[in-house]
Symmetry: C2
Subunit: 498 residues, 2 copies
């Protein structure tokens, strides 16, 4: 039996069909599914995961990949697809199908327990299902194997090559460089953001978010926005990329930053080459690079003065009552208020990384066994007190706030901080490369910026690893100083620091 590139493509894309189908079912589960649908949805997702996994770990797939891995007649794109697919194959085949199915079933159970626990504001409802999930993730780390720390095996799923040895110093930097900067801000004249909590009618919030998304360049013929408990982006091809947001009539910030953030993710997915559907070069480079896109739009663009020069008058027209006495400058300062708070997704850009650091430390402990699931809620609260000097009053604003663990996503959170740091470094470069970018942002003309992102990042899919991509674009590896520079410059303005 001889195999050619089409044999590979056929198998890989068929498995992708099943995985994208699962993504539709998951999207539905979080957006529209009636509650009783959960049980059978769980088994449907488990079956799809199992079938795809069997295909991607089959002997035939192995034979096809081995026949192509050194085939120099393939073009560069094909060679890269085969190389990365083989890398994935070697990782995937470490997990038996039965394990993959079990993990998928547990994901549905944990997710539903998480939903219920949030409704009842009680971690104990979630704990038994989370505990089973953690046991599975520890088993998964053993199956993957690792050199130094079991958590390394899980990190690698989201961020190829990331390890505890690499991340410990990064979060040490977060603690050591951001803590004194936070103190400096705490000592300055505080800014006010109370107006975000005035009344903002749902429909107008929604409409404004759609206006912003369209201006950003989000193609709504190839995407849509819906409401879910926890905002997310999902993709069923580069031509169907969806985001969700949430609306709180008394907290406009909740929707605003979710929509722009997920919009940034969506622009990345829509920019991946549709011709490489279901193949590595049609997929995002890594989670940190994904997050760099959402953070760049949310923070570097969406929380800038220039952005709101254009949008603030539009926003005031939507909410004349609630914003008539708020100047553009007050609005800008308010949205950039730095203040320790309990909920990660609503945190400012400075304290945000303490939220991530806390999750990183807890995950490390859960996976290496030094922290027991039953102690997580207390540990969580203690760390918030130690680093941010605030203590969650309940589980909903504490340990229950994130969906990730219910999905089995351990090792995912660190990519959020990496993404922010990449975002600052990329945006710094974009400002150098695109002449007149500041002026374009002031007119909500994002075409050149999007083009720059498509050209330097989106078009390549997984061709380059995060660090390689970063060096290609900026000439340097990830450098925390770009982020610190961005933060210092911006917040010196917001807080009139010396």
């Amino acid at each position: 039996m001889t195999y050619d590139y089409n044999s590979y493509k056929e198998l890989a894309q068929t498995a992708a069909d099943l995985q994208y189908a699962a993504a539709v079912l998951e999207w539905d589960q979080e957006v529209y599914m009636p509650s009783k649908g959960a049980t059978f949805r769980g088994r449907q997702l488990a079956t799809l995961a199992k079938q795809a996994h069997e295909m991607l770990t089959s002997e035939k797939y192995e034979q096809v990949l081995k026949a192509l891995i050194d085939d120099k007649s393939l073009d560069e794109i094909q060679q890269n697809n085969v190389r990365l697919a083989f890398e994935d194959f070697e990782k995937n085949k470490k997990l038996p199908s039965a394990f993959v199915e079990e993990l998928s079933k547990q994901t549905s159970l944990s997710f539903n327990a998480w939903i219920k626990a949030r409704q009842e504001n009680d971690y104990h409802i979630y704990e038994p299902e989370l505990k089973k999930m953690i046991a599975l993730k520890r088993k998964q780390a053993e199956l993957y194997t690792y050199e130094k720390h079991p958590y390394d095996a899980l990190l690698d799923e989201y961020e190829k090559g990331a390890t505890v040895a690499m991340l410990d110093p990064v979060f040490k930097m977060v603690r050591e460089e951001l803590t004194p900067f936070l103190k400096k801000i705490a000592g300055a004249k505080q800014v006010n953001d109370d107006f975000f909590h005035r009344n903002f009618p749902r429909q107008e919030q929604w409409d404004f978010s759609m206006d912003v998304l369209k201006k950003m360049g989000y193609d709504l013929d190839a995407g849509r926005q819906d409401i879910s408990e926890h905002p997310f982006t999902t993709s069923f091809s580069a031509e169907d990329v969806r985001i969700t947001t949430r609306v709180d009539e008394n907290n406009f910030a909740s929707l605003l930053w979710s929509s722009i953030h997920e919009g940034g993710h969506a622009l990345y997915e829509q920019g991946l080459p549709a011709s490489e559907y279901g193949l590595p070069l049609g997929s995002a480079a890594s989670l940190s690079i994904h997050e760099s896109q959402s953070r760049l739009w949310e923070n570097c663009v969406g929380r800038s003065q220039g952005f709101w020069k254009y949008f603030y008058p539009k926003l005031q027209a939507y909410f004349p009552q609630s914003l008539k006495d708020v100047s553009l400058n007050d609005f800008y300062k308010g949205m950039n208020q730095v203040k320790p708070s309990l909920v990660r997704t609503e945190a400012d850009e400075v304290t945000y990384h303490f939220h991530v650091m806390i999750r990183y430390e807890i995950e490390k402990g859960l996976i290496d066994g030094s922290l027991r699931p039953e102690d997580v809620a207390a540990k969580w609260n203690d760390m918030y007190e130690a680093y941010l000097d605030i203590r969650p009053g309940d589980d909903k604003t504490g340990v229950l706030q994130d969906v990730h663990w219910s999905h089995g996503s351990f090792g995912y959170f660190p990519t959020y901080s990496l993404g922010s740091f990449y975002a600052a470094q990329f945006f710094e470069q974009a400002q150098k490369d695109i002449s007149g970018l500041a002026g374009q942002i002031e007119q909500a003309e994002f075409g050149n910026l999007l083009q720059w992102l498509r050209q330097h990042i989106h078009q390549y899919g997984r061709r380059y690893r995060s660090d390689e991509l970063c060096r290609n674009i900026t000439g340097r590896s990830l450098d925390f100083s770009s982020f610190m520079h961005y933060i210092q410059e911006k917040y010196s303005g917001v807080y009139d620091l010396k």
Copy 2:
């Protein structure tokens, strides 16, 4: 290798997972999918169909079924599942996987062409994709094989045992018995339904439909209603059964009858035993029995005077402006207006069967080759003129009105008429069996009726064929005279006939 009942259940339910996953993707396609998502959605659906089909026609599945087909140690439910599964297997294996995949791909193409043709109001946009679909269906009939008429092979997919030889006389009866009755009505004093076309705000229409659905007993923790181009019911298990409707601010009837009709379908699906998920006894008996449930709720219940004794005051409260000068009696008569019209889904209960008969005759011709696809629009219009004395002025209200052919559903329409006839016969029996049913309906207490349907029909799934079920319940085979009796009695009242 020895196989037990669990081997069968595992295989059948895994295939069902894939089929239900496809149903979620189809639901999404018609309800929420952005337009550009169509291409890759098409291949995702094709893959799911192919995988499920391969599983259900595999050698292993055959071996499992053959090992169990004469196993007397199985309980009655198990024996019935195996018997029906084997019947399906023998039919399914007649279709090669490549054919199933091609059919699924063509379905997406035809569906999208139909959507576009409707938007542009131009049959010619649809024709090339419909033509390919018809060619595939003719091929499918040959693959299935048949005794007398190729259309028989397709009818059998929707209604086991139905044939042209059986249906020709039924539709002859429609022509011969309903035509003089229609004339009688045409000669009587006409009733007015203009008020349906006053202004009925969307949200209030929606809210009223939800009130009715809840009263009917539709479990909204195991279902939901959405908006689509063409109303339909779909099911992803007995615990996730969804309906769609459409809203026209200037035609309240459009939403009202769709919601009640689909609600009737949904009650059936929710009443199937969840323990038999994905197995024959967890599936509906046939399409005609399915339709009997929707028609019973829509017509026998929803268009009765008693039903509106309860609901009409509620409806007037929703639309005080538009209904203040319409009495209950005028409303009742208006909703039962009999008048030849162009759109099947909005037709009255008498002329409805001419719509079906026309489609039946056209399908027969398309499948046996006596009618060419390019002549369908003209044939359609000619038949409407011949039988209902009206001629469609455009394609949208003519040949483009139904989604079915784009889905490859040839042989489906006749089950609509059969369903109406079963509905009349079942309802006649329910009135005998349930004491005080008329009074219960007047108070919107549908519990006993639903219980009766669950007990006599829903709980059995596919255990009995349509005719067997009908005999079990009413002591007779399908009998057109029950329907004629129902029609004559009701419309003699509405039209003051002698």
